[in-house]
């Protein structure tokens, strides 16, 4: 269960850096980009639990992201519901749809699962795009309200939104950490290793896969809902295939099946793309081959590569230590022999 975040220092470091960032830089643009990155991270964590820890590559998650966003948007704009109630409903509706889709999709495996979910994602996109009377079609949905105040805390400023979304991200990381470092998490990993083996050690694979799928769509929905209230405008393209490819790139670069991967990958790619603004439309010229190269040479991304490197250096140290010990050991036995002989 190797992960960077296992080291408490890394976690505390990350939290501190995230909390202190606004004090260091007053730049609203950076704040905006970081907040957006936090939202993507939440979605990537959802994807990671499913694809990374359970071995099911879902290409429908952009669709679930969009369901979360549109549910929140429609409930607040058209139904005039309270923001927080709409947020909760958005998450639950997304996971409910996730449960229905998962129930059928999870009967398929490997390539079939990927293609099936790809098609589900596309159906979700098309429905949003074509269902003009409900979703506003290509014109999108505008005027989504920012989160309403909770007691004395209001979320109208970019700074307060930054902290609100950071809070949700930390909540996500905590939940993921606890799931992965538990029997439940071990169960998921066992399914990824071999479903046949998992079944013979008494694991109900269908039940567990469905559970993962629902959790995973829950976080996709949460991210989508937060996105809607942060950007305040949504269009059908947030459910398009390109979004899932973006999420996958973040996950793969950071490290699929690692706990810190989603943060590292998303942060890196988002900031790099920002500094390569001129590349915006062509960023895939770089990220496409990067994705392919990573999967060939570093299938577990930056975090996985770092982890392997640490394991190796640790093993080397251990070996050297062992060698010393055996050396001392042989010497002492030889002396013993000599003493006996002598």
């Amino acid at each position: 269960m190797g992960s960077l975040l296992k080291k408490r220092g890394w976690i505390i470091g990350f939290i501190l850096a995230a909390i202190l960032f606004p004090f260091v830089s007053q730049n609203e643009y950076f704040l905006h980009i970081l907040t957006l990155a936090f939202i993507w991270m939440i979605a990537v964590y959802g994807l990671n639990l499913l694809a990374g820890y359970t071995g099911y590559l879902s290409l429908a998650h952009a669709g679930f992201f969009a369901i979360g966003a549109y549910t929140l948007g429609l409930l607040t704009v058209k139904a005039g519901l309270n923001y927080w109630i709409a947020l909760v409903l958005a998450c639950f509706l997304t996971s409910a749809i996730g449960a229905v889709v998962g129930l059928v999709a999870l009967r398929t495996r490997e390539h079939f699962f990927a293609i099936y979910t790809l098609c589900v994602g596309y159906i979700i996109y098309l429905v949003i795009d074509k269902w003009d009377s409900l979703t506003g079609g290509v014109r999108g949905l505008i005027g989504i309200p920012a989160p309403t105040s909770v007691g004395p805390i209001s979320f109208q400023t970019p700074l307060s939104q930054y902290y609100l979304i950071l809070f949700f991200l930390l909540f996500t990381v905590l939940v993921m950490y606890r799931i992965i470092h538990s029997l439940t998490g071990r169960t998921f990993i066992a399914i990824r290793n071999s479903e046949d083996l998992a079944q013979t050690i008494g694991i109900s694979t269908m039940k567990n896969k469905l559970l993962v799928f629902v959790i995973s769509t829950f976080f996709a929905g949460l991210a989508g809902a937060l996105y809607a209230s942060f950007i305040r405008f949504i269009g059908p393209d947030i459910g398009y295939i390109t979004i899932i490819f973006d999420l996958l790139t973040y996950l793969l670069v950071g490290g699929i099946g690692t706990l810190a991967g989603p943060i590292v990958g998303t942060f890196l790619i988002v900031t790099v793309s920002q500094s390569l603004q001129f590349l915006q439309d062509y960023r895939m010229l770089i990220f496409g081959p990067l994705l392919t190269l990573l999967i060939i040479f570093y299938p577990r991304g930056i975090v996985g590569a770092y982890h392997d490197w640490r394991m190796k250096s640790l093993a080397k140290k251990k070996q050297q230590l062992n060698r010393k010990q055996t050396y001392v050991h042989t010497q002492s036995t030889e002396t013993e022999k000599k003493i006996k002989e002598g």
């Binding site: 269960m1 029997l183 439940t184 071990r186 990824r192 071999s194 083996l197 013979t200 050690i201 694991i203």
Partner: protein, 254 residues
């Protein structure tokens, strides 16, 4: 009698892989299934552990009909198995690989994990202890904290045994447990099987290494072309005309 099959049959398309096999596994003994390649041994195993559902026939475990049960439910009843190839999570330690084996004897769910409840802590502890215990039993305490990728082939086999034992089984099915390891190590694994029987765990295995089977097994069944051609002790099997013919391929007197 721990497990009993009645006219167990499995066909794939038009091909009969296992044909009306009646077989009994006796409690507290080492039972073996042998036969030439393609005799249907693996299929028979997969039927017993629930991985395949039979075309016809019945399987009873302690008198209870388990024919229609899925493999995870069969495992809960106390039936464990290993596979020919051991799928371990290589980036993780040996201990971590085995802990999940006791999962089926625990109740804690997602909420317990997220909220870190008392039950969660108790059961995490329980599974860890169980994993240590079975690793000790199979003699792997010394590699407990190593990554699974770094251990030897024979050690991987032992981890597979440990994983099966962690489920608290009454019977363990071993699918060619000594394939791909050397004679010295084979003997070590044979000792381990005898040790399991001493602990009241019934063993049933598929094996190619005849010498080992003849010395080890209390009871042997021979399959050929999906049909049972003989059943009995090692001595009975060795003198069975049908078995000799099957193995030598035709008329034994020729």
């Amino acid at each position: 009698m721990l497990i009993e099959t009645k006219k167990l049959t499995k066909t794939f398309g038009g091909l009969v892989a296992v044909n009306e096999v009646d077989f009994t596994i006796e409690k507290g003994k080492i039972n073996a299934i042998i036969g030439p390649n393609g005799a249907g041994k693996s299929t028979f195993f997969n039927l017993l552990s629930g991985s395949y559902s039979p075309t016809s026939g019945r399987i009873f475990y302690k008198g209870k009909d388990i024919t229609k049960l899925p493999p995870n439910k069969i495992a809960r009843l106390g039936v464990a198995r290993t596979f020919q190839t051991t799928n371990l999570f290589e980036q993780s330690t040996v201990l971590d690989n085995v802990i999940v084996g006791h999962r089926l004897r625990t109740e804690s769910n997602l909420l317990d994990a997220v909220l870190r409840t008392k039950r969660f802590k108790r059961e995490e502890e329980k599974c860890r202890d169980k994993a240590m215990e079975v690793l000790d039993f199979v003699g792997l305490t010394h590699v407990r904290d190593q990554l699974a990728v770094s251990i030897t082939q024979e050690e991987k086999k032992r981890v597979a045994f440990a994983l099966a034992l962690a489920t608290d089984p009454e019977i363990v099915f071993l699918d060619e447990p000594t394939a791909g390891i050397n004679p010295g190590e084979t003997e070590g694994l044979a000792d381990l099987m005898e040790k399991m029987v001493e602990q009241q765990i019934t063993v049933c295995l598929i094996e190619h290494k005849m010498k080992m089977i003849m010395a080890l097994a209390d009871k042997i069944m021979v399959l050929n072309y999906g049909e049972k051609i003989a059943e009995g002790t090692a001595e009975e099997i060795m003198n069975n005309q049908a078995v000799i013919e099957a193995y030598l391929g035709g008329d034994a007197s020729a």
